[in-house]
Amino acid sequence: MKCTVCRGPAVIDVRRHNANFCAEHFVAHCEEQVRRALHQFQMISPDERVLVAVSGGKDSLALWDLLIRLGYRADGLYLGLGIGEYSDESGEYTRAFARSRGLELVEVDLLEHYGFDVPAGAKAAKRVPCSACGLSKRHLFNQAAVDGGYDVVATGHNLDDEAAVLFGNVLRWNVDYLARQAPVLPARNGFPRKVKPLVRLAEREMAAYCVVRGIDYQVEECPMAKGNRHLGYKEALNSIEAQSPGSKAAFYFEFLDKAAHRFNADFADDQDALLACTRCGAPTPVEVCAFCRLVEKATTVPSSRRIPVAGA
């Protein structure tokens, strides 16, 4: 297998582009795809400060690396989610990456700052762990960006992530979620702009990028995500992709081009109607935002389980 660019020995094939790449030209391919996404969707201006949400996994570390290589001012934000050894290790990978490159890393620990972790929060709120985790992440990304004066939050969602979410939302015709699915969510009502610069790159390319660039990342899957629907959607889409390369990209980008605008009007009306959370000030459609309600449930010990304080 030869590199499509230089005809030297290739290390990876990217079938949807009908191309093979050597290590050097594969890195160039990834840079070009990110550059094109940034330009196509007007994600980040050169003078803006970027906060990259980093988890210690392949996508977020690759994203941080790529944004720095492309010359952006990007700091990292790591959230300690309290998922046992998995969180301990993900923090170590993230800190090692930042340290080795002299990058600024902001850390927020859910247990230390808010009194609960993801397993406890999910149990108390009777949510699936991925739901409690996603809710916490979205809130804390926004909060950290506002606190730190960042213009934009960048997340490592790749083409597979976006195609799988789209697949799930179409299966159930979740029109509210379809309205929000975009590579850029503009800043409004106190939310910073959110961008997904990896939407033109597949999950396999991000893992390959880390191997080629010598980025150590957490390979193990989150123990709380095992068996979730999202993983099943990815496997289903990859079965289609294996038979018909380019299907995932066509599914997602044709949605953006031909269908997304049909759902957007209702979403814009919803956004205009947001209030400020009476506890934390975050934008919310109701009096108390979903994150503050989660904090309350997760940190309120039922009276039957309270331990009497001596002398009280």
Binding site: M1, G134, L135, D161, Y177, R204, V219, E221, E235, A242
Partner: protein, 71 residues
Amino acid sequence: MGGVQVTLRNPKRVVEFEGPMRVNALLDRLELNRESVLVICGDTLVPGDALLDDADAVEIRPVISGGSDAR
């Protein structure tokens, strides 16, 4: 000993196959989707048409991660 040593994850284990064999043939034999894994030798990617000989050692690394709600 003497075959192609293949390290798999979830759960982590090592299996051995008789070489020589192409990487793509190995993945077919393991019924793995090429879109869902990388094949790595040390810190180097191994392409699908590479020929693995007895005594070669490779890791098959899953690339799919999850954990997202609907968004």
